[in-house]
């Protein structure tokens, strides 16, 4: 344990710092709010973290490659509305819909990636425009919460495996997969290389465009998955459900110590970022503090972490 901490501290002080913040928040919560320590609350907290956790993975990878994905919020709304709007409580449709929705996510990602990699549209603009197009499409499809999912489908987000939420287990599996992808595969190395310096990456023989498309496809897939998750959690799709997810996921990535310039950081940090955001909300609710403090504290945490990161550089 000690050597592990030493290794992390030496290898990546930013990451260590982020986990210290997470730990401080955790201890603070546990000591000030007695209800915090209940199994019920902790399992709530983990479940609440998963939605941002899933979309956060995709956002981290995009940001690592030096890009940004602002279309995830609208894509989440679209995915959730299509899920509940087509399913309408019909169990036989669950699997076809899951494939359809994830397919749409991949398609959106392909479009974003092509725009960025081959047509050289800046990622900020390409995904912002995509976000507007998707939000418009959702509102054309439905202006109200629509349809409904089956009881079985609700297990995805609300089910328990003993004391542990199923969704959390699912998230951990996803995390391990993408940690492996980033750290141990060619694509992962390419993402870091492109984020670090695109020109050098290109000259080293990395197919930059292909890797960039892949990155946006992953992000689109994860956003669609988040949409499925939210439809399962609320039992219904809402056309405004994903609003704010694009900025919130970027916040989680930044708190996690990943640099907006790309190339530095990783999913390890985003995990902490996501948990910190969920913790802030949970603690303030338990302490009965106005929700607006949440924004202020989140802002302060972002500044502290990013500043610490810069000082280290």
């Amino acid at each position: 344990m000690v050597t592990l901490i030493q290794r992390i501290l030496r290898g990546n002080p930013t990451l260590f710092f982020v986990y210290v913040i997470l730990f401080v928040f955790f201890v603070f919560a546990a000591s000030t709010a007695p209800q915090f320590r209940t199994v019920y609350n902790i399992s709530n907290l983990l479940r609440q973290a998963v939605a941002f956790g899933i979309v956060g993975i995709g956002q981290t990878i995009v940001i690592l490659s030096g890009g940004i994905d602002l279309s995830v919020g609208s894509l989440i709304s679209l995915a959730a509305c299509l899920t509940s709007g087509i399913m309408i409580g019909n169990p036989t449709l669950v699997f076809p819909i899951v494939f359809l929705v994830l397919g749409i996510g991949v398609l959106v990602g392909l479009t974003n990636g092509t725009l960025v990699a081959y047509l050289r549209v800046p990622p900020f603009i390409a995904t912002l425009a995509m976000s507007a197009i998707l939000q418009g499409s959702v509102l054309l499809y439905t202006k109200k919460p629509v349809g409904g999912v089956t009881r079985g489908f609700m297990f995805f987000a609300n089910g328990q495996l003993g004391a542990i939420p199923f969704a959390f287990v699912f998230w951990v599996i996803l995390l391990s997969f993408f940690l492996f992808l980033l750290r141990r595969t060619g694509l992962g190395l390419h993402v870091y290389a492109i984020g670090g310096n695109q020109e050098i990456a290109r000259l080293s023989g990395i197919r930059v465009s292909v890797a960039k498309v892949a990155v946006y496809v992953i992000s689109g897939f994860m956003a669609a998955l988040t949409g499925l998750f939210l439809a399962s959690r609320l039992g219904i799709g809402d056309p405004l459900m994903g609003q704010g997810f694009e900025l919130e996921s970027i916040t989680a990535v930044l708190i996690g110590g990943t640099s907006l310039a790309g190339g530095k950081g990783g999913i390890e940090g985003t995990i902490a970022g996501v948990l910190i955001i969920a913790l802030i909300n949970n603690i303030l609710n338990l302490l009965g503090v106005s929700g607006f403090w949440q924004w202020i504290i989140k802002g302060i945490v972002v500044i502290v972490v990013v500043a610490a990161y810069k000082v280290k550089e």
Partner: protein
């Protein structure tokens, strides 16, 4: 002959049973109806109580007044030891998390004003499953898992406004419709009420219907565009004074005469009405339904039966009683159908 008689008797008996079943079902339906009282003896608890209030947001002045009424009423009851308030910032996902957090705190009763209908079903179902009674207020949920629903019918409100407008125009003319937030229950219900009312007035032509996010600024922008687009606008149906007052400003700036415009009890609209003297009507969506929700909550915890559905009566302000409601000395964003004492009014 005898056989015919038997057949007739059996036939008669058959019909009597059938009618009986139908009546019985009608009776059951009557019991099930919204006027039914809900027995709350199983929720009775000795004070002190912990009550949680999960608010959708305080993102416009109506919601601020509404939340003040909730807190004001809660402050009057010493039996309430703890009164927790959460603010979901109009986000249903956050609100579900808020409710889970409130349940983790061990509340005895949940008052919820949902961010969107249907999306908060899992939240209230969770509470009821834990044995925590739920009072839904202002906006509905689509599940049955609650004890009482307190609102003021948005459908009626939209309908009254549309009927007034149609009558004012003598059943003939071009109108534009300005709604609140697309998908928000109150906005859609008001619109539905208005559309149903307008079916009886074939001479009224709806030029266009637009959503204005319950924002005066957006109301003004949208109206300015509509003025450009349609040379002849005889009336404006606005589902709230928030965008309605913005629309009046746009008309004024364009130098157009102000046609009949509907609104509600917001002081900004009432002041404009008094100063400019156009044809107006204000139908309130009472901010004090928050107060009623707390009163029902207290009944429930005392084990007193409560109605399944509470419709808070709206106030209709016309030229005749305008002076009773408008207050030129108070800020624009105040809602005048209020039951707050002076010291509880929001600060400027």
């Amino acid at each position: 002959m005898k056989r015919v008689l038997v057949v007739l008797c059996v036939g008669l008996l058959f019909w009597i049973v059938l009618a009986g079943v139908a009546l019985a079902q009608g009776w059951v339906k009557f019991l099930d109806s919204d006027k039914m009282l809900v027995d709350t003896s199983m929720y009775a608890k000795t004070p002190p109580w912990k009550i949680g209030f999960s608010n959708a947001s305080i993102s416009n002045s109506w919601r601020v007044f509404f939340a003040r009424h909730v807190e004001y009423e809660a402050s009057k009851h010493p039996e309430i030891a703890e009164f927790y308030v959460t603010d979901a910032q109009d986000n249903p996902t956050k609100q579900l998390a808020d409710v889970e957090d409130l349940l983790a705190k061990g509340i005895d009763l949940l008052i919820i004003s949902p961010a969107t209908e249907a999306a908060l079903n899992p939240a209230v179902e969770k509470a009821m499953e834990k044995g925590v009674p739920v009072v839904v207020v202002d906006r509905k949920v689509t599940t049955d898992a609650y004890v009482t629903f307190v609102e003021s019918s948005n459908y009626q409100m939209g309908k009254i406004m549309a009927e007034w407008l149609a009558e004012k125009l003598g059943g003939k003319g071009n109108i534009v419709m300005l709604s609140g937030i697309a998908g928000a229950g109150p906005a859609e219900d008001r619109l539905k009420g208005a559309m149903d009312a307008l079916k009886n007035y074939p001479g009224i032509k709806v030029l266009e219907q637009q959503y204005c996010e319950w924002s005066p600024v957006l109301g003004k922008q949208v109206m300015a565009t509509l003025i450009q687009k349609y040379p002849q606008i005889d009336g404006v149906w606005a589902d709230s004074a928030l965008q309605g007052s913005g629309a009046i400003e746009a008309l004024q700036e364009a130098g157009k005469p102000i046609p009949p415009v509907t609104g509600e009890d917001m002081n900004r609209y009432l002041k404009m009405w008094k100063e400019m003297g156009f044809e107006g009507v204000a139908v309130s969506f009472p901010t004090w339904q928050g107060q009623v929700a707390v009163q029902k909550a207290i009944d429930i915890l005392n084990g007193i039966a409560v109605p399944r559905y509470v419709d808070c009566p709206r106030v209709i302000i016309t030229k005749e009683n305008l002076d009773k409601f408008v207050r030129m000395d108070l800020p624009d964003e105040f809602f005048m159908d209020s039951r707050l004492p002076e010291e509880w009014l929001p600060k400027r």
